[in-house]
Symmetry: C2
Subunit: 335 residues, 2 copies
């Protein structure tokens, strides 16, 4: 058996020689193209013997298919992002695709740079959870976004944020709250996530419930919330008795502040967050929350990115959310 010049691996040519058939036949075997049964056997035996594996790079060069998808995600420190990444990766793998992971660190420039990197890599598609409102994406490569709209031709997958906001308001009201508050901090750019507020407010208005909302653009500090909250504490009594926070993360910070101010949760004020990722250590939710269907979001992204005919894709797919109690609401009271 001849060794190739490099320390290199066997090629189809080697398999062909070993099996005593032609190169083309070997290729057909590995592409499930009909071939005489005896030939197939010989090829398979030879491949086995040589430990042959098809070279995806050579194949990709010919077919323009790489069986790999790039995922752009801001960070894996956020449990929602890491859960999403986990599910997307698993889902891709189960379909024979590889995930090229790119961490963008919430940096709009990094996002754009990743796209050119990925472009060089000739991936078959990109799934992106990004913050750059005017990300320049190459129309020639399949793209799916999570929570953000980039272009009407690019499908966006998200949880049903509007419904989530409604659910939160409905729940707080049914749990006996009389005066509601919505708190949000995050990116200024418009995304699906903004609809949480709209859903929340629609219920408040419909039921003629008192409510207020405070929206903070993402400056890195929640201080303004605390200033606001402080102004609304009179005689150690909170003016609001139900708070819907845009995320579980924000809810955690608000709870820490309230504790420090001597306001009890859920006795004095009930809180609902959004995301619904369970704490890894305790297995519990961090707070009562609107749970995002992480797996369904992941599966939908993967399905959409792999669709061959991209002429008639949905521009938006909304996946159902549900409410889960997590100790920051008084479930026994209302329902």
């Amino acid at each position: 058996m001849r060794m190739k010049n490099r320390n290199s691996l066997p090629t189809m040519k080697d398999v062909a020689r070993e099996a005593g058939v032609s190169l083309g036949t070997v290729s057909k075997v590995f592409n499930n193209i009909p071939v005489g049964e005896d030939y197939r056997k010989k090829v398979e035996a030879a491949a086995e013997k040589l430990h042959y594996e098809v070279n995806h790079y050579a194949r990709g060069l010919k077919t323009n298919e790489t069986l790999s998808i790039a995922l752009l995600i801001p960070s894996l420190h956020h449990p929602f992002f890491s859960a999403l990444t986990d599910e997307i990766t698993a889902c891709l793998m189960s379909r024979g695709y590889r995930n090229i992971l790119m961490i963008t660190n919430y940096d709009t420039e990094a996002e754009q740079k990743c796209l050119t990197l990925v472009h060089q890599n000739k991936v078959d598609g990109i799934i992106g959870l990004t913050y750059n409102p005017d990300l320049k994406v190459d129309a020639s490569i399949p793209f799916v976004t999570i929570d953000r709209h980039l272009d009407p031709t690019i499908p966006c997958v998200s949880s049903d944020n509007f419904r989530g906001g409604q659910l939160a308001a409905e729940k707080l009201l049914s749990l006996g709250c009389k005066s509601l508050l919505f708190l949000r901090i995050g990116s200024d750019i418009y995304g699906e996530v903004n609809k949480r507020e709209a859903g929340f407010e629609s219920v408040c208005r419909e039921r003629q419930a008192a409510y207020d909302s405070v929206i903070l653009s993402d400056t890195g500090t929640e201080e303004p919330f605390f200033t606001y909250l402080k102004e609304h504490i009179k005689n150690g009594q909170m003016e609001f008795d139900g708070i819907f926070c845009n995320s579980d993360h924000l809810a955690a910070h608000v709870m820490a502040f309230l504790k420090q101010e001597g306001i009890r949760v859920p006795e004095d004020v009930q809180i609902i967050g959004y995301d619904g990722i369970r704490d890894y250590y305790s297995g519990r939710y961090h707070c009562s929350t609107i749970v995002q269907p992480v797996r369904e979001i992941a599966e939908t992204c993967v399905e959409l990115i792999l669709v061959k005919d991209r002429s008639s894709l949905p521009s938006l797919v909304l996946l159902p959310v549900h409410y889960a109690p997590g100790g920051t609401t008084r479930e026994s009271v209302g329902s």
Copy 2:
């Protein structure tokens, strides 16, 4: 300008034609091989105009370099794994490499299967945090493991587990503990992680402190610990006053159990865990803990995997840990 047959992207040939130079010259420009200044200018202009990007697949086919590294990790739900993955990915990207992420789900077969997948993909190296004790790895491809030993020729990167165990014992003793306990649950196969116990015990013996330890193989339940602990509670009083848990995760479960039994932490018993990943929501440690240097581990893995001359690699690299109080120890007492 001629359009290629497919909807395809410009190639070096196109750039060469556009710039009025030869194919080889274009290649040289993109590989930083000396070329006349005026030629370089022309090529760069043409590339810019055509939005040319080099095709990594074609290049990889020639050079046998793919600029991509595969990472095998059990899951991203575990905060330590997701933090590690985040850092490794960022580190790879900063060096112009891509991360092909593979989730193995703690499944030894999946681990092996990933390796063949990755083999096809012709990655330049593999970083693996795996559980399969007899993983068959191809010696021809650079490999670095985290926390496990596969083969003396394969570098293993880990935190200094022995020192971590020592630190935990030293800390508990200096905080006034008289009777120590070590608790561990996890994979049976021998890895660096096992040294936590040895370090802990070495200090206990040296200082002639009373201690016991309970080791559980990973059957999915911590019940036996609780049975054991229960047996050592007399009159609502715990026999041990200092517990070192193999992980923060285990510490969390032990704490939950103790709370349920009416044992107070840290008043009655002090607890130290291992890992030291801060809670994303509160920014705090989950417990007093031995902190693993996640970033350093990531950087070391990346450095080792990219080393060209693989003839003289260390077989083991231990990175320093430190202790961090996290509310489950009585810091004021001892130090």
